[in-house]
């Protein structure tokens, strides 16, 4: 049986007939899904283009904060703080995190630290704080770091995302030097002299502060007889030295009477923050 759809109008005078019909449910559903997909692509493409244009026209600006790069000696260790300010004058949010690792070239991790992930909303400037910590236990284990500058390698990275659509990262490796706060620390015992019944041992202490922070340590000296045993005498010295300055002082240690100094030695112990390092003994002349 052949039938035509309901015709509302007529085809008289060259006007095409008007056919009235409803779209089938499945057809409607298929079209709805199809247009939803097309709409999703359009939205994504528009967002993509807008975010790229915004980035090109208003790139973010980064500047160092005041006091960046300062190193403080705390009970946890040496903490180097950096502050970066990110100014997002675009129209899309950004997320950043930065960090760094310092390792000995000979092997072994020295210090590490990173910031938390920071979201910089459009039109705002947000500080990113990074604290790189060289733990006290590392300084204690590798005590020579206090008085010997060594080559190190640093890795620094910045990770981020832009407009919740792109992820990016940048990492740099650079050769650096660990700058010892008591570089070239030397204890030089002088020839004991006797004056007024007392025996005095002059001890010269010198070093250079190559670190970026001021030394505030203390030195304890002890004169031991040959073969060790009970200390014949001792003294202490404040090791205050500004960054880049040379420390050179001589202190006199009074030795107890009756103490045999032949073959004796001087033992020096540096206390810097929570770190205590005993240096190899120096023989008396």
């Amino acid at each position: 049986m052949n039938a035509t759809p309901p015709v509302v109008g007529s085809s008289a005078a060259g006007v095409p007939p008007l056919v009235r019909r409803n779209k089938p449910p499945l057809y409607r559903l298929a079209r709805l899904l199809r247009w939803s997909g097309i709409l999703a692509v359009l939205i994504v493409v528009l967002y993509l283009v807008a975010s790229i244009v915004s980035l090109a026209m208003h790139p973010p600006q980064v500047r160092n904060g005041a006091g960046a790069g300062t190193t403080l000696q705390t009970s946890e260790g040496l903490v180097t703080s950096e502050v970066l300010y990110v100014w997002n004058n675009g129209s899309f949010p950004m997320t950043f995190s930065v960090g760094g690792v310092l390792a000995l070239k000979a092997g072994g991790l020295l210090a590490e630290g990173s910031s938390s992930s920071v979201t910089v909303s459009p039109g705002t400037e947000v500080p990113i704080n990074v604290h790189v910590l060289l733990p006290t236990r590392t300084l204690q284990q590798d005590g020579y770091l206090l008085y010997r500058s060594v080559p190190t390698v640093g890795w620094y990275w910045i990770n981020g995302s832009y407009a919740s659509m792109f992820d990016f990262g940048l990492a740099m490796e650079s050769d650096q030097n660990w700058s010892a706060p008591y570089q070239g620390f030397t204890v030089t015992p002088g020839t004991p002299t006797t004056s007024g019944g007392n025996t005095i041992v002059p001890v010269r202490v010198n070093f250079t502060n190559e670190a970026s922070y001021a030394d505030t340590g203390a030195l304890t000296l002890s004169v031991l007889p040959a073969g060790g045993g009970t200390s014949c005498g001792g003294g202490s010295l404040s090791l205050a030295a500004a960054p880049g300055s040379t420390f050179d002082q001589t202190t006199d240690i009074t030795v107890a009477s009756g103490c045999n100094l032949a073959g004796g030695q001087v033992v020096a112990t540096i206390t810097s923050g929570a770190v205590t390092v005993t240096l190899p003994p120096e023989p008396l002349p």
Binding site: M1, N2, A3, T4, P5, P6, V8, G9, P16, P17, L18, V19, R20, R21, N22, K23, P24, L26, Y27, L29, A30, R31, L33, R34, S36, G37, I38, A40, V41, V44, L48, S161, S164, M165, F166, D167, F168, G169, L170, A171, M172, E173, S174
Partner: protein, 192 residues
């Protein structure tokens, strides 16, 4: 003075498919009406053109980029280029088939398969694509994973649309034709 051109031939009468005999008299006839199916050769030609276009952008351009530009740069993409090229070829072929079979029952199936291939392609991009640049002591990476994830949504909608069309064609083979290929000499009202 040239001779007058002959009058244009009258338009072909629209196809009038058989109607649903069970439909009540006077009720709107669902899916029934005149339609003009395009010539199969024309559909195949459009399909080939579409497949060629997709192949150009999804296979040829990346291939040339991989073999002439990227090979000289310290950039790693993170995936075997043959994977992109294989999937791109599949999408191109299926895309062409979608267009070529638009007036057949296979249309919905190919449409779903085509979007399935796009979903696979995007999933591969989401999982493994990260452009990495390494020069001397500096390295950088770039990834557009969230972008690909958003585009996945669109392909899922497309695949669902293909499945629904396939089911519609199974149930009522010519139901969508009056809407997809309406006759040119008929005014259509979709008002109730």
């Amino acid at each position: 003075m040239s001779a007058a051109s002959p009058p244009a031939p009258p338009p072909a009468p629209p196809s009038v498919p058989p109607t649903d005999a069970t439909a009540p008299q006077g009720a709107p006839m669902v899916g029934v009406g005149p339609y003009d199916l395009p010539a199969p050769a024309w559909q195949v030609a459009k399909g080939i053109a579409k497949a060629g276009t997709i192949f150009f952008f999804l296979v040829l351009v990346p291939y040339v980029f991989f073999t002439t530009v990227l090979i000289h740069l310290p950039i790693q993409i993170g995936l075997d280029p043959s994977l992109y090229l294989g999937l791109g070829t599949t999408i191109a072929v299926l895309g062409g088939l979608v267009t070529a079979t638009r007036a057949t029952r296979a249309f919905g199936l190919f449409k779903a398969l085509s979007h399935g291939a796009k979903i696979t392609y995007l999933v591969v991009l989401v999982i493994g694509t990260r452009a990495t640049l390494a020069v001397s002591h500096v390295s950088a990476y770039f990834s557009a994973t969230p972008l690909f994830e958003l585009l996945l949504i669109a392909s899922v909608f497309g695949a669902a649309s293909g499945i629904v069309t396939f089911l519609e064609d199974l149930k009522h083979p010519t139901e969508r034709y009056p809407f997809d290929f309406p006759a040119k000499n008929v005014m259509i009202s979709t008002l109730p």
